[in-house]
Subunit: 263 residues, 2 copies
């Protein structure tokens, strides 16, 4: 039997608030067994970017990762946010190690090809290329990897990569070795039937239900890529995916009675 | 017989210039066998600090690591500089992993006690406390640790720590397991008898010679802590210490005919 591995992704709503982050890290550190944390950057990158006089660069409404922006996110996600999380986890006796996909070449990526838009230093992952040996080495030694949402192109450049995608790619690649439970923490209690009603959490979404929800236009826009990532992960071997509030999910990590379960 | 381990420290004169850094990393990646790189931050931290409107904080001529400064160096040393080096080493087929002392708790430190001056978030290392098991795990898997000059206090805070000191502490701790050769790369070809004459490199400094040089006031100020670090390291088990120009030292890494050898 494979052992369990929790892969947990947090975003701005957890990172941006010191107390929320600290309380999340407390719960995270208490999870028994193997675990990986993946984090985005939160508002702090935008704030520091503004202080540095960088103007976000958009083409057709899509954010571009230009030279300045990749340096900014490398600093803020890969340095400030990542190492603060590591130091706090160490305080809580969780033996964290802060990583990007460039470290030990764990997540090689390819700069997104230019079609209509040149997204700049953005990386797309080929799951087959992930180097899971190094991750297994760390996990076997009870070291807890903490990933900033950065990859690299093998040609000397760091690339910006969506944190949900990284969490999902790691989950798929590691499902060969572990029973992986992927958890997307976000600002809602789960996928909501009615976006204005926090009590309308849909407990279970399977493919049929998802098609139905799409047809009825019930899903708010931001959740759709998360659900698609989840289905991709499950189709590729991940045991299950939970979407919901960080606190709820982590406090009930074995029971899975909170949030939305994707199967 | 123990196997060899090279621990190489670089500072601003290598990091600040893209071409020098790239050429150094090329030489570094070509070193056969186990190796660790330790880097400082260079001028980029000062530059970004200025852009962020931070004013360096000095008391009695000593730089203070206040709240803003520790965030700055965590971003710049631990993120921007460290991850760029890692990405470039990966390009050169060197399986680098970027670390701070907080990662895997490798270098725990204590915030420097306040006596005459409160240095702020500065960490002093107790070599006995280094966690070399995790480093051995990485080195045994042919992963190449790249350290930013940061440690942590075990209470959730990153600490600023001198890069020379980190290189020396790692060397001493790892000399239990390896034949360690510690190399300090800096802007001169070695310790100079005459600071204005690059050809006056002192090839060998032992304790007698060092006392002699001190008495004659021949050493320029910046080199003294380096030499003292070197002697401390050797007294604690490090095989030898070389001080000199990055290019010279790395191109002649086995012959040791360049730079100043401290014994």
């Amino acid at each position: 039997m494979k052992s369990s591995l929790f892969i947990i992704k947090i975003g701005g709503n957890v990172i941006d608030n010191e107390e929320t982050l600290s309380s999340f890290l407390e719960n995270f550190s208490e999870i028994d067994g193997k675990k990986i944390l993946v984090h985005g950057g939160g508002k702090i990158a935008t704030k520091i970017g503004e202080q540095l006089g960088l103007k976000p660069n958009y083409i057709n409404g899509r954010r571009i990762t230009d030279d300045h922006t990749i340096d900014l996110v490398t600093m803020v996600y890969g340095g400030l946010v990542n190492k603060k999380i590591v130091a706090q986890l160490q305080q809580k006796n969780c033996n964290a190690i802060g990583l990007t996909g460039a470290d030990a070449n764990i997540i090689p990526a390819k700069k997104r090809p230019v079609k209509d838009i040149d997204f700049g230093w953005v990386g797309d992952i080929n799951i087959e290329e992930l180097k899971i040996n190094s991750l297994e080495l760390l996990l076997s030694a009870d070291i807890v990897p903490v990933f900033a949402a950065l990859t690299h192109d093998g040609e000397g450049h760091i690339l910006n990569t969506n944190a949900d995608t990284i969490a999902s790619a790691l989950s798929v690649a590691l499902s060969k070795l572990y029973d992986v439970r992927l958890m997307y923490c976000f600002e809602k209690k789960g996928v909501l039937e009615n976006v204005d009603d926090e009590n309308s959490v849909i407990r279970l979404i399977n493919k049929e239900k998802y098609q139905h929800l799409l047809q009825e236009n019930k899903l708010f826009e931001g959740i759709i890529p998360k659900i698609e990532n989840a289905f991709d992960a499950i189709n590729a071997g991940v045991k299950d995916v939970l979407i919901g509030d960080a606190k709820d999910l982590l406090q009930n990590i074995t029971s899975k009675t909170e949030g939305t379960l994707i199967k």
